[in-house]
Amino acid sequence: MTELKDLATKCSPNWCPGCGNIAIWGAFKNAAVQKGWDNTNTAIVAGIGCHGHIVNFIRFTSFEGLHGRAIPVATGIKLANSRLNVFTFTGDGDCLAEGGNHFIHACRRNHNINVFIHDNAIYALTTGQTSPTSPHGFKTKSTPYGNPDYPINPVALAIASGATFVARAYAGDIQGTAELMIKANEHQGISILDILQPCVTFNKEADHTFYQKNIYKIDSSHDVTNKEAAFKKALEWGEKQIPIGIFYETSELTHESKIPQISDVPLIDNNPERKDLTQLFEEFV
């Protein structure tokens, strides 16, 4: 059983007071306690950005990789040890700019991993430049006259790329975020959770007040198995029109379950010792 105190490390979070990362961190710890995730069954991976510091503040065996490359590392971990719950923490710049290619391909392959996007619509660790999810016209240090580009919609992109579980959370709703994290992990296949994460220092537009005013929870009238309805829902964005919850969920075979050599036991349980290869060599005679 995991208790909250088991998850503390010697480091205290160094995020800004009020940062959405603190809420995401809290939500993940709550989910871990609730579901008994610990170092015998779980590994976490982070990219680079403010979100990536999370590995220092939570006592989970983890890998902090390179900017944009969290997903391929997580994929490798899952293929090597399919017994593990694999959680990938990534940012909007990390996942959708530098790592965009990995994101769409991981979605279409349906690896049984979880991808949590800390989506603050800004590059914060580099002190405030536009990101792939920043709105059009958004003024930042790199777009002083307003962002000329239009944002990527991570939810719509995930659905289009073939992800089998696509959801959105608001970091300030810690309980709701934890619940979606749990559902993401229970889903067999790739789970994309876009977490709206206010950056209190560099993104004054999308702050807690903005989200609290404009989000609404997707209700049971939405059919999560209907891809067209999911797309339609994904395209909603505006005043009182930001849906939170599960947009799309479908049941497909996971990538790992389709590989016979790991469908029963994790790869690392297969003995790599190969003493006699005579028969193999004979095939080249």
């Binding site: 293929l79 593990l84 990995h102 050599q261 690392i268 190969r274």
Partner: protein, 572 residues
Amino acid sequence: MEIIPYSIKVGGQAGQGIKSAGQILAKVATRSGYNISTYTEFPSIIRGGHNVTQVVIGEAEVTSPIRKCDLLLALNQDTIDRHKDELTDKGTIIFNSEGRIDTSKVKKAVNLSPIPLTKFASEVGSNELLENTVIVGAALAMVGGDLSILTDLLKAEYGSKGDDVVEANKKAASLGFNYAKSEYSKNIKKVLFKKGNPEKKMMLNGCEAVGLGAIAGGLQFAAIYPMSPITNILHVLAKYQERFGFVYKQPEDEISAVNMAIGAAYAGARSLTTTSGGGFCLMSEGYGLAGITETPIVIVDGMRPGPATGLPTWSGQGDLQFLLHAHQGEFPRIVLAAGDIKESFDLTMKALNLAEKYQTPVVVLIDKNICDGDQSYPLFDISKFALDRGKLTHEKKENYKRYEYTDDGISVRSIPGFGNYFIANSDEHDEEGFSTDESDIAIAQQKKRMRKLGICEKEDMEKPVLYGPENADATVVSWGSNKASILTAIANFPNVNFLHITWMNPFPADEVKRILSKAKYLIDVECNFTGQLAGLITEKTGIMILDKYLKYDGRPFFPEEISDKLKSVLNI
């Protein structure tokens, strides 16, 4: 054998099955009890262009392509125009008598052996590739070979395509064989007469050798993006993964390939990726990530010439200094370079051990000549190889520290899922893996990582091999696939020796210095523009090599060229 070594060239357009025709002849030769090596030249296209495969046959080990051609199988006019001057006197050209082939420029001493390829092929089936089988049958007759060995091979080769296809090919081979045997009997050479109980030999190319070396070395995970000249490595691994219980995954790009391999290695799987120089550019960031996180991975780089796309289907040795220096900052890297197909097998197998022992990236350099050339070998003996997983643990440890300071710089390596807490961190980190920018920790961790190279130098680094006499009038220094041609050439120079270097980092500086200091005349032979090995030797030993014999057009050194060079420096 009447002529040693004997050289057959098969030429035609891409898509005509040139390479497979050469390989079938090579396999007939090995099954008849001879040694072979093959060399293929082709452009980066699937149809058209000029393709040629050479099969060199010998009694003893054959390692390199040679310039001369004893038997030319010309599937088009272009092949005759390009290769007519390489034909030996009394050499033979087999070509299609119905192909309107002009042989007027071929020297008179060459035997012309036209065969009605189209007629024979259409008699047995409708596939134009059957012309290939006819010409292979005819070639076999001209070298005195055994038709039943060929028909057995055709059965194995085409068995999966159905009995009709097998029968058509067998008939096509017989038609060519019998026609050549009766029409050109006076020109038949006794080259491939079947030996009693020939030793069982494999025919392998370098890509297959890397794949087999990885399997023998306990590979558990490979992620490889296709690229010439290493694509055949992934074909081998993809084919055998289920049988041997490892996983091959095709990723979306080389960045993903190296990061997947790192993720799998972090989780406890022996992991490998392979690429060519252009793909390695993308892998560079993962190279250093493996270094600082101390994650064991093997990267096999198959070199081809030029920056960017360069000469994509040719061979080069321009990546040595790149692999020695790629990635920002500094980290311990082990860089090995194979000189032939067998060394590719051995070094790949060994690299998987070294990576886990030293918990750091290990590179194996090969080049296109090694990747695509075939050579015959007795079945490899792997009985002396034992898996070394280094300080990997599957146990829960008290007060576990992933990056604990140790005398040898190597810490106990736990993997996720066994209860030990740690962070594999791309940031500089303390012993548990927590991010830090403290000066004393940064220094201690960097020293700890770099210490591993010194241990590797003492415990695992191998001395370079000196071929030929200890004292010589001229000493050739080289690496990679040049080994083959140099060995062939110096066999005729009793006063020349050759230093073949395979360990690039750590570098056997003392031994190289000892040998090269004694040299009366030094020649550096490399397939690049700047003499990258010569530069490394100067950096590590202070010895300058003034005579650099360099090629950078994608072609291999031929033994004839090395001989000419040696004659000129020795004033012979």
